[in-house]
């Protein structure tokens, strides 16, 4: 959003050292963590990817999407379609189906929503995600309705080379590879001239338009890009959990994505992943004391952060470190 500071230039070496340390820790995580936390770490990565995808819109383009569950859910159901129809289930086909489904939905939403700004964009994305929720919830013959779909987990493999069933470790590493690859790609995109135009739109839309940029086209690409990566997160979740359910298309997921972004720090790509980790840990810790009411303290913390710490945990930490 407009009040955000541009990222300070840091030396490239220190960034890559930090990056290598974090990735190294995440690679080692499944080897040292007990089963529960191993699965937890994988989930943080998947939700982190979803949060990162929405950061392209919230943090970089200044458009708050309240409908990311649509992209996530369609990625999930797309993967489910591939896994149910083709036997034996094929991982790459699931990814392809999921991405196509998410891209179609993202293109549809982008066509309408990018003509709108600010709260109108937020409300429209919310309404679109509800449309897809209602369709998926009521179209029982195809989507399984309220019960969703369950399917078998595909095997990890490269056609013609090797084929092996997923273990918790290899699943974690596979998810990690996808998330790290997505991060590097998105980092490159946000630093490209295209990414600069998105940030210019965030800072001052009329001026960017006056400079001759076709705002709608840039916004459309941003929504599509965001939707694709959100769909990818949905596919990973489907592969991990072997089911697709309408709950994941519902607004609650979109809301959580926004929470991840605000908590972690918008416009940083890493921040939302950290925010997802922070939220899930908070939920895990608090639900031991508050059971299903953990959202009461989480909501209070979230609202306080919106008011007092709008730059999020990462922005806050960065400012502290630079002082």
């Amino acid at each position: 959003m407009s009040a955000m500071m541009p990222p300070r230039p840091r030396s490239a070496t220190s960034f890559w050292i930090g990056f290598a340390i974090v990735v190294g820790l995440l690679v080692a995580a499944p080897l040292v963590l007990p089963p529960f936390w191993r699965r937890f770490a994988t989930e943080i990565l998947i939700w982190g990817l979803l949060a990162m995808s929405s950061d392209i819109l919230i943090g970089y383009t200044g458009m708050v999407s309240f409908g990311h569950s649509a992209f996530f859910g369609l990625g999930m159901y797309g993967a489910a379609a591939a896994l149910l129809q083709v036997s034996p289930p094929n991982l790459w086909l699931a990814i392809a189906y999921g991405l196509v489904a998410a891209a179609v939905v993202a293109g549809f939403v982008a066509y309408f929503a990018t003509r709108l700004r600010d709260i109108y964009f937020a409300i429209t994305t919310l309404v679109f995600s509800q449309i897809f929720y209602v369709i998926i919830f009521t179209w029982t013959e195809v989507t399984g309705g309220e019960n969703g779909l369950t399917f078998r987990q595909p095997a990890l493999g490269i056609p013609g080379l090797f084929q092996t069933a997923f273990t918790p470790e290899t699943l974690h590493w596979f998810v990690l590879a996808v998330v790290v690859g997505s991060y590097l790609l998105l980092r490159r995109i946000t630093r490209s001239p295209f990414g600069m135009v998105l940030q210019a739109i965030r800072e001052n839309e009329p001026r960017t338009r006056a400079l001759g940029y076709s705002i709608e086209r840039y916004k459309t690409v941003a929504v599509m890009l965001s939707g694709l990566f959100a769909g990818l997160a949905g596919i990973l979740y489907a592969v991990q959990n072997k089911f697709a359910a309408p709950d994941f298309v519902f607004f609650v997921i979109s809301g959580e994505v926004v929470i991840f972004n605000v908590m972690g720090g918008m416009g940083t790509l890493v921040g939302p992943i950290a925010g997802a980790g922070f939220f899930l840990l908070l939920r895990e810790g608090l639900s031991r004391y508050f059971t299903e009411y953990y959202l009461i303290p989480v909501g209070v913390i979230f609202t306080a952060m919106v008011i007092f710490m709008p730059q999020g945990l990462l922005g806050f930490a960065r400012r502290r470190l630079n002082e």
Partner: protein, 290 residues
């Protein structure tokens, strides 16, 4: 189409009744938006809280009207406190941050209601139980009364905005916040008052809706979404537009539920919103801007 006339007539009455109750919710939302650029994501949860306070009061006093008054007053005070603690610090920031803050509030309120009143629906008994014949149906008088009460509250709001001292202050602040402050209007107080009024209207509609659909802790999101749609279709910050849009949307949904299931009929209002945003983004019922 093979839909008999009497069904269409019944759905028209249903749509009008639901539309007027929805208009009561939406006019609070649009008032809050018009005056302080706050998109109140927790508005539906104020409806829900009002419904619960009403249900509890009816259970202890047995009087519907006391319950409605208690709910409106309680939620008005609560809304004022909410505005002072969470929205006042956000004044002057990007309107999007107010969506985020009120979204956080909505999470808290919904889970609080679950914790306080449990997951089951509460039904508020109707204050009048009479029925009249409407074609093949025995139509409850209460529904008609609810519609009239909603209209009366909205009418009172209109008169208050038009002639009351605070009403004039509110309209002045809507037009130009800085100039109003310079003329000696206590702008922060006006903001708090408006939020309290919007919250009270939400609570009143929660109590009015209680006998029709029951009060559950998850009803808030539904109301928020529908009120958003209405307010955007009617034109943000435009009171008259919101009322007409609420009736239009409810009628569309009522007619659509003749053909498809009620769960799918909601899509009609979604489509209405999207068409409005594409064809007339300033709202259906506002004069064409310069």
């Amino acid at each position: 189409m093979g839909i008999p006339f009497d069904q269409i007539a019944i759905q028209t009455v249903n749509g009008l009744v639901n539309g007027l109750i929805l208009a009561l919710v939406a006019s609070g939302l649009t008032l809050i938006f018009g005056i302080m650029d706050v998109v109140n994501f927790a508005h539906g949860d104020l409806v829900m809280l009002g419904g619960f306070v009403g249900a509890v009061t009816v259970a202890s006093t047995g009087n519907f009207w006391i319950a409605m008054l208690t709910a409106a007053l309680t939620i008005a005070v609560f809304g004022a406190l909410l505005q002072m603690t969470t929205l006042r610090p956000l004044l002057g920031r990007d309107p999007l941050t107010t969506i985020l803050a009120t979204f956080g509030i909505s999470l808290v309120l919904q889970k609080y209601a679950l914790w306080q009143w449990g997951p089951s629906a509460r039904r508020i008994p109707e204050p009048i139980t009479g029925q009249f014949a409407l074609f093949y149906l025995q139509y409850p008088w209460y529904r008609v009364l609810g519609a009239f009460l909603s209209a009366a509250i909205i009418g009172a709001l209109y008169l208050f905005l038009k002639y009351g001292k605070y009403g004039i202050w509110i309209r002045a602040t809507t037009q130009d916040r800085i100039m109003a402050g310079a003329m000696g209007i206590p702008v922060p107080l006006v903001h708090t008052t408006v939020f309290a009024i919007g919250a009270a209207m939400a609570a009143a509609s929660g109590v009015l809706f209680g006998p029709l659909g029951g009060v559950t802790q998850t009803m808030g999101f539904d109301f928020t979404l529908r009120a958003f749609i209405v307010v955007v279709v009617g034109g943000m910050g435009n009171l008259g537009g919101s009322i007409l849009a609420a009736i239009l949307i409810s009628l569309l949904e009522a007619y659509a539920s003749l053909i498809v299931s009620p769960a799918q009929a909601v899509i009609v209002s979604f489509v209405a919103l999207i068409m409005t945003l594409l064809l007339r983004p300033t709202g259906l019922f506002v004069p064409t801007p310069r």
